[in-house]
Symmetry: C2
Subunit: 344 residues, 2 copies
């Protein structure tokens, strides 16, 4: 295929500098804050009259993803999204992305192109400029080290620490799907290992699998809250499960919380998958993580502005007394525990 | 030892959130731009009236460092320095640092504390706020993914692309020492592997070994240039060797360069070590890398301002004709090639 001969197929033909140049060619800058992107010692940004936000989240092979079932393009997309999500969780907008990438020699140029195609797609969709990074070799495995930058108008920034007694606890979208997607992918992979002729039929699980492999970040919710003139009192994104995130807000706000099992939004596909695995869908929502929905608190007077919006669900409220509790459908009161990542 | 019982010794006792909290306790913020550091989804910065700079450089075990001879505290220090250096290379000042850290279970809490002690020491000395990061597990090895942020007054930013015909090429400090330090550490490690009773005597090599294990970044040079009212026309830091960096400047400035072998500043300790290894000290300077000195170009009219300064050496000049050349002591003209990292 003559077309394929037009570009080098080996990373070693390009070298480090050539590789970065190759992967970042034709990048157009979308944000006026971005003065200079890829190609110098540092990117240059101009954030006059706004606060800038910056966050980094590592993705390690074998810990955060398994390439046996995670397509590289989706993985690149997810690595970007996970970092954008932290910026939205501050009530700001992601504007720039840097990507540190370490790859072992088992990856060829096409693999890295796939990964970058996903990163670039996420940047395109979310209006983010890819402004730099570092590409290097690794002794084993694939490491993604993205850093997202964003901005927020002064006075609009929202921390985890601002929740007040009586505030309503709100969550976007639905929870637990990404975790069920992971369980399904793992199950199918085990079946494949036992019988390499096993043909997985993932079609009944499209929704939960996609939530795991190619999640979205809730930029739309940050916009919606601006339009509705609602400023959350505290906000966080759900990366480690609802329990863990509620505990972050109550700890940093020095308050407590009560949430209701029957209010937690869970998709029908998540319920079906949970039934198959004989686990409670509430457990998936509380402890599963990787939903990248937004969890936030609002003043009661703002309730009328958000009620009826299908993207937002009130699941409980903030209390003066410390401790975070789940009121079950059987009217039991259970103390929430962080079940997120808890051991190296 | 009762004192040691006061803090947990196992990472698993702390969990991810506890670990970050533990490692970043008692951090005081030094820069007025830093509104919020560690502890939320993103750090918050206020860069009014200045340009912000951001850069990331990964350090992978087995590729960028070898723990057989690299003390963890020095490694943490170096990881920070390497990233600060990119900010100084823009003629700006490093202000904030985020550190992504992935560790396998062969590392205990004390090891990570050592690493962080080095990171914190570098931040202390360079006046940088440690504002966040991510700590996670890894299947194997240690990965450091720092991101440095900085700022520069508008109009003072310096790119790689601004060199003009006739500009003088200047380098800070001396070159090649870090590479010779690496060769010595490798040699002693090989001797130790053959005979575990081998007692390395590194004292004759203190300078070159320290340049490898615990380099410094040239914040002082950026300050000096401000004081002297010299704005470089182009600047880069020397991480991959003088050759590679000269080629970056000439390529991005669309110019050529001539440098002179007898002008390249090399420490006597570097010369001695190179003699022991029977290699040319010029090769170490051109291709060795990791010196983290600044390489920059200035207008000829600024020469009087910098001449006689022991920290700065003029090594050549920029030409209109493309290509970068070394004039040897034998008056040969050799074409410079990038010998930096060139294959994965």
């Amino acid at each position: 295929m003559p077309k394929e001969n037009k570009f080098p197929k080996k990373i070693s033909d390009l070298g480090e500098f050539g590789l970065i140049e190759y992967l970042t060619q034709n990048l157009s800058l979308k944000n006026p804050e971005t003065i200079k992107g890829v190609g110098d010692d540092a990117a240059v940004l101009n954030f006059d009259k706004k606060l800038s936000l910056v966050s980094t989240d590592l993705l390690m092979e074998g810990v955060h993803f398994n390439l046996a079932w995670h397509p590289l393009k989706h993985l690149g997309y997810k690595a970007a999204i996970v970092n954008f999500s932290d910026i939205y969780a501050m009530n700001g907008f992601a504007k720039q992305l840097l990507v540190g990438l370490a790859v072992s020699n088992r990856f060829g140029l096409e693999a890295i192109e796939e990964l970058y195609a996903g990163i670039r797609l996420a940047c395109e969709i979310y209006g983010v400029d890819l402004i730099g990074g570092d590409t290097t070799s690794s002794m084993s495995g694939l490491t993604l080290a993205p850093t997202a930058l964003g901005s927020v108008e002064k006075g609009f920034e929202v921390y985890r620490s601002g929740a007040q007694k009586g505030d309503l606890i709100v969550v976007s979208g639905d929870l637990g799907a990404a975790y069920m997607g992971l369980l399904i992918l793992r199950r199918e992979h085990e079946a494949f290992k036992v019988n390499p002729n096993h043909q997985p039929d993932l079609s009944p699980y499209t929704y939960v699998v996609e939530r795991q492999l190619k999640p979205e970040a809730r930029k739309d919710i940050v916009k919606l809250l601006r339009d509705l003139k609602v400023k959350p009192t505290a906000m966080i994104d759900i990366s480690d499960g609802l329990s863990s995130e509620i505990l972050h807000i109550t700890k940093q706000s020095d308050k407590g919380a009560v949430i209701y099992e029957n209010k937690i939004p869970i998709a029908p596909e998540t319920v079906l998958a949970a039934e198959e695995f004989n686990i409670s869908e509430i457990t998936a929502a509380l402890n599963g993580g990787e939903d990248y929905e937004l969890l936030f608190t609002i003043k009661q007077k703002d309730y009328d502005k958000i009620k009826g919006n299908p993207n937002l669900t009130v699941i409980g409220h903030i209390t003066e007394e410390k401790g975070a509790y789940l009121i079950t459908n059987a009217n039991e009161k259970l103390k929430l525990k962080a079940q997120g990542w808890n051991a190296l």
